[in-house]
Amino acid sequence: MKPTRRVVALIVSTVFLLGMVGLSRVSMSTGAGAAGVLRLSWGLLPERVEECRTLSEEELASRPAHMRQAEVCEGTTLPYRLTVRIDGRLRVDELMVGGGARNDRRVYVLREFNLPPGDHPISVSYVIEDSTLVAGETDGAPPDERFAPRTLNWSGVLSFAPGKVVMITFDQERRQLRPRRSLPQP
C-alpha cells in the first residue's frame, strides 16, 4: 500500500467510525415532554368466593379412601370494575378479571393518560362486581386482607407539569388509592 493510499484509507476509516459513533450519541424523541402523565398502577388479588358443603355418608363412601374429605369447596374469583374520569369525562369503564387460566391471580392495572399541563379533576374507582352483594356490602372489607378492598375510590384535583408523572397507586398500609409523584422512600 502506498503511503498516500494509507492516509486516504485512514481518513475514510476515521470518518466512517465518527459517523458510527455519532449515530450512537444522537438524541431520540420519546414522544413525551410537552404533556404530563397520569399513571394508574396497582396489582391486587381478586376476592375469592367459595361455596362449601358437607358430603353425605353415601357420597363419602363412594369415593376412594384418600379423597374422603368431609367438606368440599368450589370457589371463584370476582371481577372488578375500573372507571376513570378525567375532567369529568369518562375515560375508562372496564371489567377486570384476575390473571391466569382460573382468573385467580392478581388483577394488574396499568394505564397511562397524557394530559395537558395544569390542574385536572380526576376520579378513579375500582369496585367489586358481584350480583350477590347488595348495596352497602360492596363497601365492606373483604374476608381476607390478602384480597383487594371491595371498593377503592380516589377523586381530587391533580396538577400536571410537562414530562412529569403522577401515579395513583394502592397504599398497602392504608389500604386505599393514593397519588404519588416520586418513588417510595426505602
Partner: protein, 519 residues
Amino acid sequence: MIRRLEGATLRVLRTADAAFNRLYTWRFNPLYQSGTIAVAMLAVLIITGVWLLLFYRIGAPWASVDAITGNLWAGNWVRGVHRYASDAALIAVSVHLIRMFAQSRAWGPRAVAWVSGGVLLAVLLVSAWTGFVMVWDTFGYELAVAGGRMLDALPFFSEPVGRIFVGEHPVPSAFFFLNLFLHVALPLGMGLILWIHVSRIARPTLLPPKALLWGSIGLLTLIAIVWPLQMAPEADPFALPSTVPADWWFGFWLPITARVQEWFLWVVIAAGVIAFLWVPRLTRPGAGERAPSTVDKQLCTECNQCIVDCPYEAITLVERDDDRPTLVAQVDPTRCVSCGICAGSCSPMGIGPPRRTGRNQLETTRAFLRTHETSSGKVVVLGCRYGAGEFRDTLIGAGAEFQEMDCVGNLHSSVVEFLIRGGAGGVLVLSCPPRDCRNREGPGWTTQRLYHGQAAELKPRVDREYLHVAYAGAGEAKEALRALREFQDHLEAMVPLEPEPDLEIETVCEPVALEGERV
C-alpha cells in the same frame, strides 16, 4: 423473487467491494473481513467488559457507571471503546449476513452457519439491551420499558414484567443482578455459538489481518478519548424527558414500539425469523445443480490431498470395498457444498463435482483449443464465473480468449499446461480476491498448486513466465484489464511458444502395480 433480491444485493455489494478494494486493497478490505471484525469486536467487548465489571455495582447502577464515566484515565475511554465496539460488531455482523445472502452462501451444509449466525445476531442485540439497561440512565429506562412491554405482549409471564419499571416500587436489585448475569452470560454463550458457526469449516479465520485489527481498535480508542462519553441523567419513572441521548444502532426499534402495538411487532419479528430460517431452502440450487463431489475409486491413491484441501471437511478416508490394500476417499454429501476445490487437488483427477473434475476440465479445454484462436498466441484468461465472468466481453475485447471456471479453486494444473503447450500465448488466471472466494480457499490453493508444488502441482516443465495469477472481483473490470495488459506486455518480450502437434495429456492414469499386485 428471492433470486432477484439476491442479485440486487450482490450488485450493490460488488460496487462497494470494488470501491473498498481500491481504497484498502483486497487484503484489508473491511467488507471482506466483516466476519473476523465481528469476532475481534466481540473480543474487545469481553476484555473491556471485564474491566468495567470491576467497578459496576448492582445496588447503585447509575451512580457506579457515573463514577466510571467520570474517571477519564481508566474509566471513560474504556466504556467508550466498549460501547463503540458493540456498535462496530453489530455493523460487521449485519454486513457479513448481507454478504452471505447476496453470495448465496446459506443453503445446504452452510445452513448451520446461516442459522447460528442469525442466533449470534439475536444474542448480540439482547446482550446490548442488557448492557444499556445496566447503566440505568434515561436511554436504559426507555429500553427497559419498551422491552417490558414487548415481553408483556407474550402470554408467558404470570405477572407483567413492565410493572417493574413504572415506579410503584423501586426497581429491585434482583433485576439488576439478573440483568448483569445475562450481560455476562450471553457473550460467553456467543463463544459457544461461534464455535458451532465455524464448526463446518476446516480452517476458520477468526481475526482480521493485524493492521486492520489494531488499526480499528486504535481508531475506536482514539475516538473514545477525543470524544468522551457523556453521562445521561438517571432513570426516573416519574420524569419523562422529551428526548434521550440514544444509541441508534441498538435503539432503532424504540420509535417503532411507540407507534405500533406490541403484538404486531411480535408478528413482524416472527415473520422475519421464519423468512430468515427459510432462506437456505429458498436459495437452494435446482435439482442436479451443484451436486456434491464424487470419487472415482479406481483412481484414488489415498494421497490425502483432497482431504487436506477441502474447506468443509467433507472428505474422509474409508475402507475400500474391493481387494486393494489402500483406503479410498469418500465425500460426505451432507457437508459438501460442491465447491470443486478437490477437483484441483487430485493429481489422477479422481474426484470432483459432476462435470467439473480434472478430466472434465481437460475435455473442455481440448474443445476450447479447437474452437478458439489460441494458436495466434492470444492470452487465455481462466476466470472465475463469479468474478471475471462478469466482464468476460471486456477481456475478449482486449485481445484475450476467455475460459470460464466455476471457481479457480477447481482449476486442475494440467489445464494450464494443456493451454500453454497447446498454443496459448500465455495463461492468465483471474481469481476473485482470496478473502472474497465463495469457496473460501480457492485462490490460495490454486496459487500453491501453480507456484509452490502443492498437489496437484503444475509440472516443472511448464515455464511459469507464460503464466500469471491476478485477483479481480466482479466489479473490478478495470483492474482485471490492467493485469491483462501488463501480462500481454510481459509476453511481448518473451519468445512465443510453438503449439505442440498432436498434444495429448493423459486424463486417466495408468494403473501402477503395487507390490505383490497384478494389474
